[in-house]
């Protein structure tokens, strides 16, 4: 067994050393060398021509021209630029491979650590500096400096307070009692007789289409988007037999017409994949599936909370209106969800 330990210190196969350098055909044959030279300079030459072609195409081709159903300008500029660059690269590489000196050379490594001498001298310098500063000997100065630097972190944090308002407005949407439920994009109000069984309407609160005296939208730009991000709804009509309403919400629909929030309770994508026969609503983002025939319960996927329902009523002219804002929070959950006015 001793022998085995002895032998193990010896490698089983010796390092044969750097292999002998063999020349390339271009090193020994002047015809090959010339050929390689022509190859490389040919590539560079072509690259130059393509760069010029780029400039010509830029001015010659119009933005609306097409080539094989693609934008002609895009293809022309891209192909000339791309091949020009590629040829320069390929040329340089070919030059290195075929013509440049290709003797493998050896460089010795050095340990990554500093030399002992360097380390000692560094420590000397460091000690001299610290000693002269008195940092180590004067705890009052040291501690008060550290304290002040630490406290200076506070202004940096405090300055960020106005990044945004405090989160309080997640509980309400623009829906109010009496607000009409209107078709998105067209803004037309909806009568129950307009809807057939199996119908889906992507709807919005009426206020999004209201205009003021100047004909400008009352809500537009960022405010309109913020309103939509919570208030968008879908209205579906099912056979009344297919609906099992939530307790206490038997009268929230009208003749099988029900209204639910369009904003997924998972992370907020708008849902409108409505399967009219299974009455399932699928969110395309992460496949949370809600059963609108069963109080918007989650039947598959990562969403946890059921979809909030909007109570429907009819106004004087017979159009669908909301009877109140949502009774639950719309959209994704947040930590203080159950601590607010609604959950």
């Amino acid at each position: 067994m001793n022998d085995r330990h002895e032998i193990e210190r010896v490698e089983p196969i010796e390092n044969p050393g750097l292999p002998e350098h063999l020349p390339r055909p271009t090193d020994v044959d002047p015809k090959q060398e010339r050929r390689a030279e022509l190859q490389v300079s040919g590539m560079f030459g072509l690259a130059g021509l393509l760069a010029l072609a780029f400039c010509v195409f830029y001015f010659m081709i119009d933005l609306d021209q097409t080539f094989l159903n693609w934008s002609a300008l895009n293809v022309a500029l891209g192909a000339t630029l791309g091949f020009s660059l590629l040829l320069i690269g390929a040329g340089a590489i070919q030059w290195a491979k075929k013509l440049m000196g290709d003797q493998e050379i050896i460089e010795m490594r050095h340990p990554a650590a500093s030399s002992t001498q360097d380390r000692e001298e560094t420590l000397e310098a460091l000690n001299a500096g610290i000693d002269e500063s008195g940092f180590a000997r004067r705890p009052l100065i040291r501690n008060s400096l550290l304290g002040a630097m630490g406290l200076l972190g506070l202004p940096a944090v405090v300055l960020l307070r106005d990044l945004g308002p405090l989160p309080h407005s997640m509980y309400e949407t623009v829906w109010k009692k009496g607000m009409r439920v209107v078709n998105d994009v067209s803004g037309t109000p909806i009568k129950p007789s307009d809807l057939e069984v199996g119908q889906l309407v992507n709807a919005e609160p009426g206020i999004l289409f209201e205009t003021d005296a100047d004909g400008e939208r009352v809500l537009h730009g960022t405010e309109a988007l913020q309103a939509k991000a919570k208030a968008a709804v879908i209205v579906v009509r099912m056979r009344p037999d297919d609906i099992t309403p939530a307790k206490g919400r038997e009268n929230w629909g009208i003749d099988g017409i029900v209204c639910y929030s369009k904003i997924c309770t998972h992370v907020g994508c708008p849902i409108s994949l409505w399967e009219q026969q299974t009455h399932h609503l699928l969110c395309p983002c992460h496949q949370s599936t809600f059963d609108l025939g069963d109080a918007g319960k989650v039947i598959f996927g990562p969403a946890n909370r059921p979809l909030p329902q909007l109570q429907l009523g009819l106004d004087g002219e017979g159009y669908l209106i909301a009877m109140d804002d949502f009774q639950e929070v719309v959209g994704p959950s947040f930590p203080e969800l159950k601590r607010g006015p609604k959950s």
Partner: protein, 569 residues
């Protein structure tokens, strides 16, 4: 070949000696220059993967700067009156409108947009491929642990940079992604809604997130990336590149080609190749056609909404996570979002960052390593890496579950359930299979050292015995197969010392020993010198192997004559 005139004697040299002198008198660069002009870099294709990332970054900087000349990072509303007819009269943000402008009114604008986006995709892919190469070859070991950490930093920053970038056009697809991020931030326990309102400046979408992402995308993160890339390169130059073991290569040297001229040409040339190839992709393959998605509208969404591929695994994790959410002491914890989106990402980067230190703790190996491992010689490390890749890939596939369902006519719920199970089972299977493959390859290597390679020549003895003749490998190949470290002798830690006193480190030491055991389990050790000697003696006697002294370089073997002596080439 013509003779070479030293540069200081040429026309160019003489003319520039003045300016060079002027600079040197102020900067003293000769010291640095002399060390680095002929610096040696080893040559192997797998060492160029990081370069793909590096050059892609340069392309991103160049094309990105072009785009900043026309992009307007504002969410203020405008009515589009530009060239793209289906949107004329449509309300949209300035960000989206200016992106349409770049695509349709600025010559070369669409090309630059596409090159920029393809380059970003390649940047992330190259980082991952490079990281995997470094992992599987053990190049993260001392003294390169810091460089590995910098690399993980670049990986995570790159993901955020890409996300910020593709969200800038404020189109329907990326806006849907921002909506997801809004829900993600909300899911952070206790402070989620506060952070959400601070990030978006109020309720989603607000009017400030695009300008803030723009700042992050063109200023903050590129600055961090540049700094980290600089540090990454500096360390690479200081430590010198690792190399594959082979003839003439040791832990104390680097063998390869000098920076000037070969590496300058190859690496510089590769920059042009990467740029050119990406430009060709931008010329012929469409990417992110925002005019087909439309401007962002919180009431609209498209089927098949996915983020860019490098966020795909997070997307998949979110899709397959069960819908767990509960309320504790009045606080709501949305595990269904927080775990896959936030915790999982944190877990990945933590595991990656810690790995060199974990391996160091397991192996107890404190030496400098400049020679690379062949992946097969570290079967457990390789198998763990493949298991990690499998975990990542299952999540990635889950992120595209609706596209898979549509194109392969499958049930999307079935795919989701399959991924839920596979995400745990597949990595274990991958580990076992990979480890077995590595060990099998090691066995093969050992066989070839001891008994040579199979020549394919079948010999039949007089009594009807069939056997295959083996020829010894040449010395270079033999050496290459034995350059890895011998397996360490694993000792069980002492429970008690000579006097019967219990070992205070007992439990920790036992855990350490178990970990070491697991890490080296199954690996086939390289043969000892004694083994090799014995094998050759055995060969001479049995005649199964061709006599020593006939060096074959494998592929030049031309056959064997009647007497069993190989024919000369």
């Amino acid at each position: 070949m013509s003779t070479y005139t030293p540069i200081e004697d040429t026309g160019v040299g003489k003319k520039s000696s003045g300016p060079v002198q002027w600079l040197d008198e102020r900067l003293g660069l000769a010291g640095l220059a002399k060390k680095n002009l002929r610096k040696v870099f080893p040559d192997h294709w797998s060492f160029m993967l990081g370069e793909i990332a590096l050059w892609s970054f340069v392309v991103l900087l160049l094309t990105g700067t072009f785009l900043t000349f026309w992009f307007q990072p504002s969410m203020a509303e405008t009515t589009y009156q530009g060239v793209y007819a289906p949107f004329r009269g449509l309300e949209m943000s300035h960000a989206f409108a200016s992106t349409l402008n770049i695509s349709f009114d600025i010559r070369g604008g669409l090309l630059m947009r596409q090159i920029h986006h393809w380059s970003a995709a390649l940047f992330m892919a190259a980082i991952i491929v490079h990281m995997l190469r470094v992992f599987f070859t053990g190049a993260f070991r001392k003294p390169r642990e810091i460089n590995w950490l910098i690399g993980i930093g670049l990986f995570s920053l790159g993901m955020i940079e890409g996300f910020a970038g593709y969200s800038l056009p404020d189109d329907l697809l990326s806006g849907t992604g921002l909506r997801f991020v809004d829900g993600l931030i909300r899911s952070i326990p206790i402070v989620g809604s506060y952070i959400e309102f601070f990030v978006f400046g109020g309720e989603f979408p607000g009017d400030i997130i695009i300008p803030r992402l723009y700042m992050a995308h063109i200023l903050l993160i590129p600055a961090l990336l540049l700094g980290l890339i600089g540090a990454h390169m500096l360390l690479l130059v200081y430590h010198k590149h690792t190399q594959w073991p082979g003839p003439g290569r040791t832990e104390r040297n680097v063998v390869g080609y000098p920076m000037l001229p070969v590496y300058a040409a190859k690496a510089g040339g590769f920059f042009f190749v990467v740029f050119g190839f990406t430009a060709l992709m931008g010329a012929f393959i469409q990417i992110n056609p925002v005019w087909l998605y439309g401007p962002y509208n919180p009431s609209e969404v498209t089927a098949g909404s996915q983020p860019d591929w490098y966020m795909g695994w997070v997307e998949g994790a979110v899709r397959i996570m069960p819908n767990w959410e509960n309320t504790i002491f009045g606080w709501t914890f949305s595990w269904n979002v927080f775990v896959p989106a936030v915790l999982l990402m944190g877990l990945l980067f933590t595991v990656l960052a810690l790995w060199p230190f974990v391996e160091r703790w397991i192996t107890g190996d404190d030496r400098d390593h400049h020679l690379l491992d062949r992946p097969r010689n570290m079967p457990v490390r390789t198998a763990l890496g493949v298991a990690g890749m499998t975990f990542y890939s299952i999540n990635w596939i889950a992120g595209g579950n609706d596209i898979i369902a549509l194109k392969l006519h499958m049930d999307i719920f079935v795919i989701t359930w399959a991924c839920r199970i596979l995400v745990f089972v597949a990595p274990v299977v991958a580990f076992i299979v990979t480890k077995r493959i590595c060990i099998g390859l090691q066995h093969g290597d050992k066989e070839r050292i001891l008994h040579g390679f199979e020549t394919g020549v079948i010999e039949r003895t007089a009594d009807g015995n069939y056997s295959e003749r083996h020829a010894p490998l040449d010395s270079v190949r033999q050496y290459e197969l034995t350059t890895h470290d011998r397996l360490p002798v694993l000792e069980a830690p002492a429970e008690t010392d000579d006097n019967g006193v219990r070992n205070p480190e007992g439990r920790k030491a036992r855990l350490h020993a178990k970990a070491r055991d697991f890490f080296y389990s199954g690996a086939v050790d390289k043969p000892t010198a004694l083994d090799v000697e014995e094998a050759h003696r055995h060969a001479d006697h049995t005649g199964h192997e061709l006599p020593q002294g006939n060096e074959f370089k494998g592929n030049e073997f031309k056959g064997v004559s009647e007497a069993g002596i190989p024919k000369e080439h």
